[in-house]
């Protein structure tokens, strides 16, 4: 029991975000921007990422509280801080972590110099975690029900999922017109482990009564789907978790399919519109699946001695366990990947090119651009949304900068900065947001960080 409570506290205390990559999106000097929009206006002859170093990203976010609120080394009793966090948050507050590491990544142009078709491919490993604040359950664990007669505790507050997977992908984008680029990416997912408990409902209440002392009802519809973890939660397990999971990440796990689609459109030379839909896909969990359910209805009146000979009152604890049994099922299940929608509109100005040659119809010749982006991601409850405005500048031919200001449910003062530098053939990029929080990372509600190294051979657009 103590282990479960500890685990629960760890779960809610882990600080972490959505998968909004607002700096990377449409930052076309970085090939990885293709991962946020397969129809990005990215041009290359060929490129490859430095294996394991081409794309490392981590997002952490928590609305409602920060690591500092819970773990500050300030002499205040941890339990006091925990209470403050629980009572200052709502069931809508959430903690998320997303981490991605590219194992390999590359791309090449198809056909001759006149062609405008590009292939990109790669594989990355991803870890996702999302938990809403299980507020009512936390109150029950902290205070019990004595001071909450009449309150209906909502078991639906428990909403958590975690997953480790690897993704193998191949994408294709093409200028189908001078001013329109479309792209598509197919993905094969392999889930090393998954734990999903997002469709819970039910309630517990206690109210004063005239028959017994209380009227007490528990109606529970809780379900936890797991795949790939039964081995590790078994008490006899003595292997190496990290090694086992690493092996499964490489396509030993449950398989799934998905796709990304996107486009870039230039209604005018200096106006750009983009949109993408990423991770529309599912994973079918078939291997090592275990589903735990805690479902039923029980109205507890207490024991009722009948004083009629030979009819001893039943065992109410056993009755309860029979009414709401903890069942383990071994049925296959399907999870959907969190689908993401991105869109942007951009206005470019300060053309650095000569007036008579502007034949490629793209924005790459402009020194400056301003724009706005919208990000929407599906979550187990209402979709997560973020709105970003940005300024992009080519500082030199080989140094691009993008500064962003983002509004979302974690923060209304999220300023981010991205730099992409081309050192010969080597491309280096560093993107970080919530810069205002860097004076004290512990108090940040969300942070994201991405960096990587690529080797890019530029598309010359010339025959030789």
């Amino acid at each position: 029991m103590k282990k479960i409570i500890l685990l629960f506290v760890l779960f809610v205390s882990v600080e972490c975000i959505s998968q909004n990559k607002q700096i990377l999106y449409n930052f076309t000097s970085v090939p990885q921007s293709l991962m946020t929009n397969p129809g990005s206006d990215v041009k290359y002859k060929w490129y490859f990422g430095i294996p394991l170093l081409s794309g490392i990203s981590a997002n952490v976010g928590s609305s409602g509280f920060s690591a500092y609120d819970l773990f500050a080394n300030d002499g205040v009793d941890f339990n006091v801080k925990l209470r403050n966090v629980v009572f200052s948050t709502t069931r809508k507050d959430k903690a998320t972590i997303n981490e991605q590491i590219e194992l390999f990544n590359g791309g090449f142009k198809v056909g001759d110099w006149q062609s405008n078709s590009y292939i990109s491919f790669g594989m990355y490993q991803e870890f996702d975690f999302l938990s809403y604040m299980p507020k009512d359950l936390a109150i029950l664990a902290l205070d019990g029900n004595r001071d909450y007669l009449g309150k209906v505790f909502n078991l639906g507050d428990l909403n958590v999922k975690a997953e480790m997977l690897s993704v193998l992908h191949i994408g294709y984008h093409k200028n189908i017109k001078n001013n329109l680029i479309v792209g598509l990416r197919g993905k094969i997912y392999s889930s090393a482990f998954n734990a999903t408990s997002t469709k819970n409902s039910g309630y517990i209440y206690t109210i004063p009564s005239t028959n017994g002392i209380y009227e007490q009802v528990i109606s529970s519809n809780l379900e936890l789907n797991t795949s790939g973890i039964s081995k590790y939660i078994d008490e006899d397990y003595s292997g190496d978790v990290v090694r086992d999971i690493k092996q499964k990440v490489f396509f030993g796990g449950d398989l799934g399919l998905g796709f990304d689609a996107g486009l870039t459109y230039y209604p005018k030379k200096n106006i750009q519109f983009t949109a993408s839909l990423v991770d529309v896909g599912f994973i079918r969990h078939t291997k090592d699946v275990e589903t735990f359910t805690f479902k039923g209805y029980y109205k507890y009146d207490g024991i009722n001695p009948k004083f009629t000979n030979g009819n001893a009152a039943g065992n109410v604890y056993q009755e309860f366990k029979d009414a709401i049994p903890l069942d383990t099922l071994y049925t296959k299940y399907t999870t959907w990947r969190p689908a993401k929608f991105n869109s942007s509109i951009q206005y470019s100005f300060d053309d650095s090119r000569s007036k008579d040659c502007n034949c490629d119809g793209t924005d790459s010749g402009y020194r400056n651009a301003v724009g706005a982006q919208l990000f929407i991601m599906s979550t187990p409850r209402t979709p997560f949304m973020a709105f970003t405005t940005y300024y992009r500048r080519n500082i030199f031919n080989n140094l691009q900068m993008k500064a962003t200001y983002t509004l979302d449910s974690y923060s209304y003062k999220n300023i981010g900065l991205g730099l992409s530098a081309q050192l010969g053939k080597l491309n280096l990029y560093v993107l970080a947001d919530n810069l205002l929080e860097y004076h004290d990372l512990a108090k940040a509600n969300s942070l994201s960080f991405q960096f990587g190294l690529n080797v890019i051979f530029k598309d010359s657009d010339e025959p030789y």
Binding site: T206, Y300, N397
Partner: protein
């Protein structure tokens, strides 16, 4: 020249980001200090025995017994974490006979561990509630944690003869307040 400028900018920007980032002193080991102290209330037992149940074929049943299983305090979770339990009883007698109620707490070998007694006066036309709060803590709590059954022994004391048509009932309500400490 350009790469130099460029290097300089990067060389300044990136360290600046990290130099100016710092983090307050965090101590994640505080999780070990976690101590939950919830207080739960719940029903314990109830009955409502009508007067005519004390009469079978015209003959009074003077002693009636029921021994329900109450093994929840035996559960490993309560054994580890329960630090105090208050049992509250309220008896409302509307039969014109006096009673005694003995509760005998039995272990799994049916050995008596603890008992408590209620004297219930006869009904005289006005409500007369008998209440008692029994606090289990320390050594007494250990007895409760070994309890698997409670024998409810109801004795009717001498008085006006009851018949199958006598009115009134003997009603008991009881609840428990459980104090837990989980660390």
């Amino acid at each position: 020249m350009r790469p130099l400028v460029f290097h300089r900018i990067l060389g300044i920007l990136i360290p600046v980001l990290f130099f100016f980032s710092c983090t307050s002193d965090l101590d994640f080991n505080q999780v070990n200090d976690l101590k939950l102290e919830p207080v739960f209330v719940s029903n314990l037992a109830h009955f409502d025995v009508p007067a005519n149940q004390f009469v079978t074929n015209g003959v009074e049943q003077v002693v009636t017994v029921d021994t329900p299983t109450i093994d929840i305090f035996n559960d490993a979770f309560f054994k580890d974490n329960l630090v105090r339990a208050d049992f509250f009883f309220e008896i409302n007698n509307t039969i014109n006979r006096a009673y005694t109620l003995d509760l005998v707490y039995l272990d799994k070998n049916n050995q008596a561990l603890y008992s408590t007694n209620f004297a219930i006066p006869a009904y005289t036309g006005v409500e007369n509630l008998v209440t008692k709060t029994d606090v289990f803590a320390n050594a007494k709590l250990d007895l409760l944690k070994r309890t698997t059954k409670i024998a409810f022994i109801l004795k009717m004391l001498p008085g006006p003869i009851l018949s199958e048509s006598s009115t009134g009932s003997l009603k008991l309500r009881s609840g428990v307040t459980a104090y837990l400490v989980v660390e």
